[in-house]
C-alpha cells in the first residue's frame, strides 16, 4: 500500500494508522511533526508546488517500499495555515519486522525535508518570515545515499 496526501485538512491520524496496520506485517513505525507551541510562533503557513509535490512524495514512498520491502508506506502533508500543536506531517511504514519499518520511517521524513517542494512561513505577532533551510536536514538526508 502506498498512500500520499497533500491537503489543507487536518491529518486524520487514526485513519492513517489503521490503514498501515491492516497493510500486513507486524510492525508499524510512524513519525508526526507538529507546529511547535513553545517558540512564539502564532501561525505556520505552508506553500507547495501542486503536482510536483505529489509526484515527489509518491517517488519517495515507492523508493522506501522497494528498499525495505515494506507492506505499506504513508506520507500525509498539510498545506495552508496551521496553529501551534497541529500536525504538519505524518509519515509511516509497515513491514514484517521492526528494523525495516523504523529505518524506512526515518528515511521518509529525512528525504521529504530535502526532496519535496514545500516552503514554510512563520507568523510571530505581526511579523511574517520565511523559514530558512537547515544544514542538519541535508546531513540527515545524505546518510541514505548508501
Amino acid at each position: 500500500m502506498i498512500r500520499v496526501l497533500v491537503s489543507e485538512a487536518p491529518v486524520d491520524i487514526a485513519a492513517e494508522l489503521g490503514a498501515l496496520e491492516t497493510a500486513g506485517g507486524g510492525a508499524v513505525a510512524t513519525f508526526t511533526g507538529l507546529v511547535r507551541a513553545d517558540d512564539g510562533v502564532g501561525e505556520l503557513l505552508l506553500e507547495h508546488y501542486p503536482g510536483a509535490t505529489e509526484a515527489a512524495l509518491e517517488k519517495l514512498a515507492a523508493d522506501a517500499v522497494a528498499r525495505w520491502k515494506l507492506t505499506g508506506a504513508t506520507i500525509v502533508h498539510r498545506v495552508g495555515a496551521m496553529k501551534p500543536g497541529e500536525r504538519i506531517v505524518f509519515v509511516g511504514a509497515s513491514a514484517p519486522h521492526r528494523s525495516a519499518a523504523q529505518e524506512a520511517c526515518a528515511f521518509l521524513i529525512d528525504r521529504l525535508k530535502t526532496d519535496a517542494p514545500f516552503w514554510k512561513r512563520e507568523r510571530r505577532g505581526d511579523a511574517m518570515a520565511w523559514v530558512g533551510e537547515r544544514a542538519s536536514d541535508h546531513d540527515a538526508a545524505e546518510r541514505w545515499n548508501n
Binding site: 508546488y49 510536483a52 506531517v89 514545500f118 530558512g132 533551510e133
Partner: protein, 81 residues
Amino acid sequence: MDVLYFAWVREGIGKGQERVEPPAEVVTVADLIGWLAERPGYDVLTDTAKLRVAVDQVFVPLDTQLGAAREVAIFPPVTGG
C-alpha cells in the same frame, strides 16, 4: 515556456507564474534566470546561490540545459516536513 515562482521568489516578483519566450542564447536554467533578472522588479533573482529550480517538475542543478522544457520553477531551498 511557463515559469513558476514560489515562496519569497513569488513575493519578490509579485506573481506566481508567467509565460516567457527567451532568446536563442538562453541555453541553461542559469541563463534563463540571468535573462529574467535583468527585468525591472526581478532583483530577487540576482543571487542565484539562494535559488533552486525544477524543470518539468524535476529538481535539477542550475547548469542544466533547458532543452524542450515546458515548465521551469524557481524557488528558495525547500523547508517542508
